[in-house]
Symmetry: C2
Subunit: 361 residues, 2 copies
């Protein structure tokens, strides 16, 4: 599959990426503006399946690091990722031949498109998280053996830090420390690999999945059908397959702060149906676990996304407010994200949760 | 001047560097062990005047960053700086031809000798601080226009971060954040420059000064003369010139903690002579200001060093204890450190002190 990313695709992806972002990944609206502006300035971007590329092409993973609640107040010019890639190429002596998103969520589905436009490179239809996660090591690239380093960490003032360590968790730790000192937000290039390796270690098809989700909701709206039902039906035909609503209600409490470079907290949802139990969702940039006092409803790595009751569009963690009326959608992740190796890196224990993972059924 | 650094020189330098370290710079005893062990393993090291070198030789400044109270508990293997220099050379494509200490104090007078031994390079008789200071930008190299970057920041586990920014203060900010995440201690190479530039921007002669101070105290001890009087007499013949005791008494309070990657606090000295006022010294790794409620006795960049009453050896900030009987020595810094440009970078205001600088008279 090779296709030119259209303006309509970007509109749809902004909606779909917010749902895949599972509350995090940064605000896709800002990302959409970045991508549109870059395409206007530099020309169209091609979305390609990784297996369409020559196996030796160098693929670089690019994205923004930081707390979403900072990112929505500190808007990028769009050139920061290109500056980061300059440093990555100079340091490695390699030349990027394609860009892959670090995560299939929010802003980070979009800004690789802006980078690809500026560098006249294709974007790969896939990513390293199959959703959004809050930490660099939580990548299928890492799970399946691709070294994260060098990681180039740039800010909007032209400051640059290059991290070199064999450990992806240590790279996260160091890059996060730098990001905090850069004001809570930075622009990363990392996980350099051949297209051949990328085909083995990526969650495939997630960019077109994001576009498809947005398109499904848009078409339902245009034809006055039930967007949520259409969305669940659409997902059933993808490698994510299992999706369902785990609760509906009103946001009655949002406890959220920036700590250690992340947005963290909890949100409490009072069900419309008083026979149901109140649901709490725990947040670290993304929604990690949804539970009632009777048990777990959904847990990482499965997706938990808070959707506006009327539009079925995602409400990201930094936009949660008292009084919002919501559905909570859970989606099972594909097989590549449910292996023991994958769960060791981004299963519940990686977030300090004591519950074990049970795939959404 | 070219000379081979002897074991006796290292013993003397450990004593002298602690005095020049003005409380900080890291424990010179640990540094001495590092230097001795490296010389034993790799062979002798030559101390050279920078003007003896070919003007085009690449000079690299090397040293340890961190809070002294961490450094004395986390002892280096000695290879960390060599690992840092490997990264610096690989990143710049240049080859170090000589090593210059970042500061003339404590550990940081010593570990460049260990690095020089491992790399079979000479060490320059000079440095960038003429004492110890707590921050990377507080270098005469920076004051007189040498870019600090790239800065390579290594830890003892083989993790590496390279900082690239035009601002020395920003490099400090980023490297300090990385150092905190490396456990409070790291190994830096930075301020690459030609020997020609180094001759213009360094505080010259500070390694032989450190050795001379130690030698003076040793010879006084061996001949039963007054070490302190000999020391002041010796300094009068150097470019530091003015030195005197600004107080004598007992340490009655030490308030010291690690904050933001530095050892910070205050020490209170009750004078033996009850007619005198108690003296307080404010610390940020180094001693910054000595004052009574009647006024300032000495202030940065002039040196303030707490000396053991009996041996006249320096007591570094992390070894200050209740009950120690001490003299407090102040020493005026050379002219290159007292210019308006220099005071803008490491004068009292750079440490948030409201007093203005008045050279010790």
């Amino acid at each position: 599959m090779r296709k030119i990313i259209t303006t309509q695709d970007l509109e749809d992806l902004a909606v779909g990426a917010a749902i895949l972002g599972t509350g995090g990944g940064g605000d896709p609206y800002i990302g959409k503006l970045m991508a549109m502006s870059a395409i206007e300035k530099y020309g169209p971007v091609e979305l390609v399946s990784v297996d369409e590329l020559d196996g030796d092409v160098e693929v670089v993973a690019a994205g923004v690091m930081g707390a979403p609640s900072i990112i929505i107040e500190k808007i990028a010019s769009g050139d920061e990722l290109s500056f980061s890639l300059d440093a990555w190429e100079a340091f490695t002596g390699k030349r990027a031949g394609a860009i892959i998103p670090i995560e299939a969520g929010g802003l980070n589905s979009m800004c690789p498109i802006a980078l690809a436009a500026a560098r006249r490179l294709p974007v790969i239809d896939g990513d390293g998280m199959g959703r959004a996660f809050p930490q660099l090591e939580m990548e299928t690239f890492n799970v399946y053996g691709v070294p994260v380093c060098p990681v180039t960490v740039a800010d909007e003032h032209g400051n640059m830090v290059i991290v070199e360590t064999p450990s992806a968790a240590k790279a996260e730790w160091l890059a996060r420390g730098v990001t905090i000192r850069m004001g809570g937000q930075s622009y990363l290039c990392q996980y350099g690999m051949t297209a051949r390796r990328a085909a083995e270690v990526s969650v495939l098809g997630t960019m077109s999945l994001g576009i498809g989700i947005g398109q499904t909701l848009r078409e339902a709206r245009e034809t006055h059908r039930d967007g949520l039902a259409e969305l669940i039906h659409y997902l059933a035909g993808t490698h994510y397959e299992v999706a369902r609503i785990i609760g509906s209600g009103k946001v009655v409490d949002v406890n959220r702060r920036v700590a250690n470079g992340w947005s963290v907290g909890t949100v409490l949802i009072e069900p419309f149906d008083r026979a149901e139990k109140p649901m709490s969702i725990t947040i670290q940039n993304e929604n990690l676990i949804a539970e009632t006092d009777e048990g777990v409803l959904a847990i990482v790595p499965d997706l938990i996304t808070v959707l506006d009751l009327d539009t079925a569009e995602a409400i990201t963690t930094e936009r949660l407010r008292y009084g919002q009326r919501v559905n909570v959608l859970a989606v099972r992740v594909p097989e590549i994200m449910r292996t023991p190796e994958a769960l060791a890196v981004f299963g519940p224990a990686a977030f300090g949760l004591t519950h074990s993972y049970a795939p959404l059924s």
